[in-house]
Symmetry: C2
Subunit: 383 residues, 2 copies
Amino acid sequence: MSVTAAKGFAAAGIAAGIKENGNPDLALVVNNGPRRAAAGVFTSNRVKAAPVQWSEQVLRSGQVSAVVLNSGGANACTGPKGFQDTHATAEKVAEVLGRGAIEVAVCSTGLIGVLLPMDKLLPGIDTAAAQLSEHGGEKAAIAIKTTDTVHKTSVVTGEGWTVGGMAKGAGMLAPGLATMLVVLTTDADVDSETLDRALRGATKVTFDRVDSDGCMSTNDTVLLLASGSSGITPGEEEFADAVRAVCADLGRQLIGDAEGASKDIKVEVVNAATEEDAVEVGRSIARNNLLKCAIHGEDPNWGRVLSAIGTTSAAFEPDRLNVAINGVWVCKNGSVGEDREEVDMRYREVHVVADLAAGTETATIWTNDLTAEYVHENSAYSS
Amino acid sequence: MSVTAAKGFAAAGIAAGIKENGNPDLALVVNNGPRRAAAGVFTSNRVKAAPVQWSEQVLRSGQVSAVVLNSGGANACTGPKGFQDTHATAEKVAEVLGRGAIEVAVCSTGLIGVLLPMDKLLPGIDTAAAQLSEHGGEKAAIAIKTTDTVHKTSVVTGEGWTVGGMAKGAGMLAPGLATMLVVLTTDADVDSETLDRALRGATKVTFDRVDSDGCMSTNDTVLLLASGSSGITPGEEEFADAVRAVCADLGRQLIGDAEGASKDIKVEVVNAATEEDAVEVGRSIARNNLLKCAIHGEDPNWGRVLSAIGTTSAAFEPDRLNVAINGVWVCKNGSVGEDREEVDMRYREVHVVADLAAGTETATIWTNDLTAEYVHENSAYSS
């Protein structure tokens, strides 16, 4: 269903020959209206790929007619030629579809520092356009995969309207050098300002809190397009809830498919003085390589949780900290708590709770364990 | 030579039975004067082990008569009982040596959240005291090892005076959950204020810039003790240079013995607007798991260097960044530079230069690659 679950959209996914192995590598998503409202959120990395620089300009108008996405090359750190290539890609889509290039967003993912094979990409756009279909969502989702083992889609349905989408990658919006690309579509009749509020609110508590390996991509992009074809304008809160639900579902799928991971780790920080404190502490725990190794070894090593908390500027007293792993409070008041032998870590999902005992705020960060397979995949995934 | 290279010091290293495998685990370093001046630098982790809390108090007077160090247990996150145990350890050393407990610094390293076996540690102090020797430096250095494969010592000699020392662990002062403990001694006749300035100046550019895995210990401690027994007071700059040289040598040895590492990586940031910028960028590069994996795979993946730079707040323009790996400028002006095939990465030491083209300041951070062995060692090193 993916990006074509909502009415008013067509999509396609094809193999243009950008990937040397012949796998699908080019996706096209087209908004057939009547509305063409859109919002976007991009990587906060200051080294931005050419497609991000381009698409940020496109989104300024709040109007997107089409999104073209390629895997097999990030078009990042490619200089002026890389930007020209992105521009040419948008122009080509605009020409084929009879739209304006400034309404065509471009997303790329793959290796950094390599120019795209435009002799393959541009003809691929003709092929993709010829295959555009209201049932093309799955094929589009498949064509944006890189190291993903499965394609990721999600749909939430309201009263007569729908939000759906596709995602690839593993990482947070800011992280995941395995770039995260997400395209969401809706047939709800909402304007670009409403889309923008809903999307920013959703990404802040979903993709922003998915932190597989602490590395921030040059290409991360999340787009939300509205066709308005349902003719229904939901209440803003209801709509925002649906967008957040789709983002949360896709974010969880990204963590579940992270490179080399054997555990999905939910880091929940509770009783923080502020939400910012909760996020800072959650991220510090989620990025601690030693803890990630311990969890890989099914070792409930709460000392590594405490030492990660200790590096933050959050409000807490060391001797009031509590930590639970999979429901067992192995650390109480900053010291030894319940018997660590009670902790059952056999399953893929691991739940770490850090209680700061400093307030009432909370935040949840998702991450993965650190494995030999991660090292293998990322030392072999040559640039 | 280690801590007994300088005159006026005696040391011992014995197996007290704290480690279950019977390896040496208790070290004693005694300053026989005439001076007993000292300075110390401790972890910036807010979750501080009991021995750190104690030793910070000891150092306030600028006087240290003895240092007792144990491996086999960090005595961190052990509550009031843990602090009592550290206090009892200092009292025991004081009693055996006939000094005041408040002049006895205590250092511990090993697992977090486990109480020390005081029934073994306290009798061990008697044994160690009986073996104190002006030639005991090597044995002391051996007794503080945990996952270290070799013991680390260094000596620099001035005109009639000496600075020597020992280190264990891998990490920066702040990092390396494999706690870093360092004891330096000198027979130079210098006061505690001079020692403090020399030590802080040295750690800031040496141990503080050794960042094996970005994890900050609860126990990191660096002590510098002066006996004054040479009767010589060197010029302050000359003395500070010697302290910095010993710290740099020990820091390099720590990186060379980091857990599971196959590459030692020198990250040199040049042409930064400020030294703070250079350090921030260097640390960001040094902590990038994806880059560390790539270097493990001997892949000169400069895109990962750029994306790490892009996450910082340092002054730079993305299209003016340059990156060299082992002397080859693989990235020029933020884009593809010299042929990456020219980069020879066969050797253990790898040199990454990041040119920010934004000023004249520089900083060097040392780190390691990320390997399957690191994962193995830290998922098996059970808490």
